[in-house]
Amino acid sequence: MRLSILGGRVIDPANGIDRITDLHIASGKVLAVGEAPAGFEAGRVIDARGQVVCPGLVDLQARLREPGQENKATIASETRAAARAGITTLVCPPDTDPVTDTPAVVDLIRHRATQAGFARVVSLGALTKNLQGEQLAEMSALKNAGCVGVSNAHHAIASTEVMRRAMEYAANQDMPVFLHAQDPWLAAGGCAHEGMVSVRLGLPGIPEAAETIAVARELHLIEQTGVRAHFCQLSSERAVNMIARAQHDGLPVSADVAAHQLFLTEMDIGFFDSHCHVQPPLRTQRDRDGLREALRRGSISAICSDHQPLDRDAKLAPFPSSEPGISGLETLLVLTLRLVDEGLLSLPQAIACISQGPAGIIGLSAGLGVGERADICIFDPEQYWELGAEGMASQGKNSPFLGWEFKGRVTHTLLAGRLSFSSESL
């Protein structure tokens, strides 16, 4: 389909573009920025005046619950929610059921996503077989099947020896390793940050050291093995400072942060609000500010949703017994835009954190240059709306942001030049 997007503020951090102009698309790719080529006739025109036109968002961490937990969500339901939120690429961690440790599971996920047609889903393969931390997964086969990296998800690898060999093997395959840094023994049984709130509410705590000790171990192994590594959803100021130091020393490490960690702290648990039960836990205001500062200075290069849709009952339990996780796809863009309103980032910087930054980590490009794939998000930056459970497209309504008023609403999402969402059809 030939399509023109006219008069929008085109922000493309990858190509350094920020101006009001037109985009013309053909055969799923950007054909021209600015004037249409001679003889170009658009089959559809989107009037984007007053709107921002940017690369489709890339979310580094989204659990789609399929295969294995279709009672919570499906690839179809969650990719549809992603499209409504301007997301065109989702990275799915390997803790599916069955675990993504064979090409068959990778193929299944891709097939279901293609069938649904709302967003591209790429998989992280398992780092160890069945995520058990004992035997290496078949990383070469997983890479050939299209996995963009390997990870053991939230399943800690207890043996430092196994972790070392896994990193060495991943380096050998030139696959980035995605790490969830949390010492399993220090975190065991915990459900909240060990600090003022956990002591007040008597909630078993997860100390900050559970994260920093694990980051320290992994950094030593990264240095030794030379693997490219990405730290997922860091939660503490000390940990991001350690990453910044490692980057300064030339280690090939990157990091992301979950959007909710930039806005919520342990105080938001209030009197046991299970919507604030997340892993890693919400930490202190100082940690939140440290994460923001790391984002501003660039040592964290991506914001992700850490999307974890849950069924209603999952949160209807006492805090320690409720399931951790936030349904985050639909707040990824707007929370990031809020950082612009709060003066932390410029709009192009913010967009880079949810497009170019995460795309680079998985080896994709996310730009609107001529010839690039036309994955595009168009949003009205001035439109106010309130997040309500009934308005959420995700099957999971578990969000601590219900009732929040947000600024910025997606009007169109294009996946390889085809409209995967349009607010006109709502």
Partner: protein
Amino acid sequence: MRGQNLQLDEQGRLKHLLTIEGLKRQQIVDILDIAESFISVGDQQVRKVPLLRGKTVVNLFFEASTRTLTTFELAAKRLSADVLKININTSATVKGESLLDMLHNLEAMQCDMFVVRHSDSGAAHLISQHVAPHVSVINAGDGRHAHPTQALLDMFTIRRRKGEFAPLTVAIVGDIMHSRVARSQIHALTTLGVNEVRVVAPKTLIPAQVESLGVHVYHDMKAGLRDADVIIMLRLQKERMRGAMLPSEQEYFQSYGLTRDKLAMARPDAIVMHPGPINRGVEIDSEIADGPQSVILEQVSNGIAVRMAVMSMVLGRPPAENAPAEAPAKGSAQGEAS
């Protein structure tokens, strides 16, 4: 729901009792005063007042308990309520029914009050958010979080023995980390304005940032007990006496067990308390537990009056308004303090 004080109604009156945190000083004093008026019910020939006649109280204990369950049951019966006890070990939750489903089924049987004990912090809060508007919830201990009636009966006992709270130095000794009793006591004592609350324990049993609750931390027992007016010993779970928390019972007793020589550091008229059940020879020497400064059994008796007071208040019928002629008048704590 975030940050909201769920236990007060729109007029600021007690609707549920979930935690001491957030209660005003006067509200605590009111509970103690009303408990004072109930203290003699147990001495009457007919140990009953009709305040909760026609009401149904359900004791919903998801965790084992003897003392607390019994005193709640006695308190409800002395208020003339019908009392149900749900044996969770054989109940539907074991068969997979969710906590809230079970609750709604009980509600459908026209219950008025749930007394809840649960191993998870926040369980009573959760239940209070989902019960019908006419139902009250009393927290009988949730996880490590709160045990408000225990703290109130402790305050009641302290007031009867010491009178004023303001000049007191109170030392809480033992497993602060896992103790819901300690948390509730700390909130109660700080709200009532005691001079100093101390927590005394090895580092392994002190939670991070406990100072944020307004207490002073001591790791040396003798220093922690120096000039204390009240010593509250906490129960130590057997499983914590091995492995990473503590090396052995013997070593714990040597350092933190209350013995005559350690008690000598406190004021001569100091009282010794314990929420029970006691591990003799681990937390406390029998000589002290049964000695003249111990008020441990008094705490148990006082528990019934305090629980009667709380139950009558949350169901909205304090004795000041509805007390029968035979019920005793509101007592003066100052007058009865010795």
